[in-house]
Amino acid sequence: MTITMSREEMLGLRRKLATPELLAPAGNLEKLKFAIRYGADAVYIGGQQYGLRSNADNFSFDQMREGVAYARQHGAKVFVATNIYAHHEDLPGLRDYLSELDRVGIDAIIVADPAIIETAKLAAPNVELHLSTQQSTLNWQAVRFWKEEGVSRVVLAREVSMQEIHEIKEHVDIEIEVFIHGAMCSSYSGRCVLSNHFTDRDSNRGGCCQSCRWKYDLFVSEEEAMTESHSAQLFTEQDNSFTMGSKDLCMIEHVPAMIRSGVDSFKIEGRMKSIHYVATVVNAYRQAIDSYMKDPFSYVLKQQWLEEIGKAANRPLNTGFFFEEPDHEDHIYIPEEKPQDYDFAGLVMEFDETTGIAVIEQRNHFRPGQEVEFFGPEGTHFKQVVGPITDEEDQPLDAARHPLQRIRMHVDQPVKRFDMMRMRKRMS
C-alpha cells in the first residue's frame, strides 16, 4: 500500500510512503505464532548456535520448519539471528548450520561478523543477509560498503538520529531497519566486553550478563595512582549509584515521523520477553502503523496505545538518539519501579455468541471476583470482573489453578479466538 503525501505534510517533498515492516522478536514457537497473530510482518528467532541470546529457549531446526510454515501461511517472514562475533572454535559447523537454514526456508539471517557473511554467501544462497546492529553502522558510506558486499538490509546503530536516517536513505538505495522499541545497550553495540572482564562470559557470543545495569561508585584519583588513600569519591552517601543502564526505547508516539523517515523495517527488541509483552507491543504498533497508513491526515495518537505499551513496559521509556542525544534523564539511577505489572491470565480458545460464554485456556492463576482485561489483534479491548467459572464439564470451580486448564466463563463483550486475557499481578 502506498500513499502520496501532500506538499504541506512533506515540507515540499512529494513522495510515496511505503508501509514499513513490523518486525517482532520470537523467543520460541509459541511466541512466534503470537507475534504474527498480533500483527508482525516478520519475526526474528535464534537457533541453537551463533545467536546472542544463549539463555533464550532458541529454536531447533524442526521448530524452525514449523515456524516458517506458520509464517508462510500468514504471509510473514522469519529471520534468524546469527549475530555473534565468532571465535575460531565457532567456525567449524558454521557452513552446515547456515545451509540447513537455507533448506529450512529462512528468509534472512541477521549477521555481524564477515566470517559468517562470507560463509552464508556460499552455504545459504537463498537466505538474505541483514547486517546486525552489532556492527554499529552510523554512516552512509559504511552502508554503501555493505550494500556492495551483497547485504540486502542494514540494521543501523542505535545511536543514529532521525536526520542521519534521512541522509542514509538519500545516499544509498538499500533496506534500512531500526529498533523502535525495547531495551538498549548503552554502549555502541558490540563494543562492550564488560561481561568478559567481570565474569569470563563472552558478551559478543551471547553471554552478556548486563553489567551495565549493575551499581558502581565513581571516584577521582588525586595523582596517577588509583589507591584508596589517593582518591576522592564523587558521590555522597545519599546519592544514587553510578550506572550505565539506560531507559528502554519507545517510539509509539512518533510512528508518523518514523514512517516518513523512510525506514523499511521497525524492529521490536526482546527475544527473552513474555508472550504478553510481544503481543501487547506488536498490537499497539500494528494499530498505529495501520491507522497512519490508512489516513495520514486524520491520524491521531491514541491514548489506548500508550496505555497498552505501559502495561508491557519493564522500565521507564524514552526516544533514544532519534531526536537529541540522551542526557541524565535517559538513565536509570533510581531503583527501578514498575508502575503496573500484568500477567497473561488466559487465552480465548472459543466463543459462543448466543450464550456469551468463552472457553479460556489458563496461563496464570485467576479466580472469580478478579478484574481482568481482554485484548486482541482485531480490536477486542475491554475490562470486566470474572464471574462464575466452570470446567469443560460445567463443574463450578473456585479458581483456575492449572496451567493450560480450559475453563468456561461469561464475557461482557464478544471475543475472538486467540484474544488474550490479562490481569494485574498481585503484589507479593
Binding site: A86, Q134, L138, Y188, L194, G207, K215, Y216, L218, M244
Partner: protein, 319 residues
Amino acid sequence: MSQLHNRSSESHKPELIINAGSIDEVRRYLAAGVDAVTVGDLTYAERLPGSMSASDIAQAVQIAHADGRSVYVVVNKIIDNRLLDGLPGYLRSLEQAGVDAVIFGDPSVLMAVKDHQIDLKLHWSAEMTTTNYMTANYWASKGASRTLLARELNLEEIAAFKRHADHEVQVQVHGITNIYHSKRKLVKHYLNHQGRELEPIHQEDGKILYLIEVERPEERYPIIENENGTHIMSSEDYCYLECLDELMEHAIDSFYIEGLLKSVEYNETVIRSYRQAIDAYVSDPASYECQDEWLDAIHELQDPGRELTFGFLFKEQVY
C-alpha cells in the same frame, strides 16, 4: 613448530609499538626503543593519550623516519555522516605526511581510500570484535595488511590467528584496555543527576576518574569521557612480558604497549623491558630466559591499585 625455528630469526623480529600523545612523547618513546609509535587526532580516533594535528603528525613522521622507525595513525572512530566530508582530506594529508599505516575499524575509511585513490597502508582494528582469522582475512582482502587482535583472546586463539591469517598480526602485550564504549556522556549525566557539574578533572592534570563495582571493591575501572563519549577501561594492566617468547615462537608480527593513563616514565620503563626481551630472544632463542630485572623495573613503577595480569591469555570464556 620445527619449521618456525628453522626460519632465520631476523625475519621474525617482531615490532614493538606504543601510542604517543605529543611530539615530546614520540621522541622519548623512540629513544626508549620502540620500532613504531601510533598517534592520532581525536576527531577521527576514539581515545588517545593526546590529540595531534595533521602537521604534528607530519613532524612525528619526519622524526621517526629519520631513525628508520614507523608512525601509524589511529583512525578508529565509529564514524557518523557528519565526519564523512572531512575524511578523504584528512586521509590525503596523512598520505602526504608519509605515515606508514592508518588503523581503521569503520568501512567508510575503506570507501574513502578507494574512491579517492589514496595510497595508504591499512591496519584493521575493530577493537573487541576482532576475534577470528577468517574475518581478519576478509578485511585483508579489502585492503588491510595487518590486524590488531581483540584483547579478549587466549594464547591458543592468538596462535591460531597467526597460523591462519594471510597478513600481519598485532597483539597488545601491555597496559590497559577498553572494555566499554558509549556515545553517551555518562560521567556528565551522572553528575547532572546529582545536580553537579563535571569539573575539568581529566588526565591532563594527572587525575583519573574511575569506577568501583559494588561487589568488586578491589577492582578499579578508569572511565574516560571525551567528545567521542564514554570509555570504561580494564581494572588490570596486561603484562605478557613473561610469555613474550611464546608469542615470538608463534611469529606474532607486532607487540603493542598501551600507554594510556600512564606516565611517560612508566611507559619508557615498559618499553625498555620489552625491548631487552625481544632483542635477547631474537639474538639467541634457544638460551632465552625472561629476566627478573625486566619485570622488577615495571613493578617498581606500577600503580599499587592496579594489578599486572596475563589478561585472557590463559582463560576459557563461556557464553
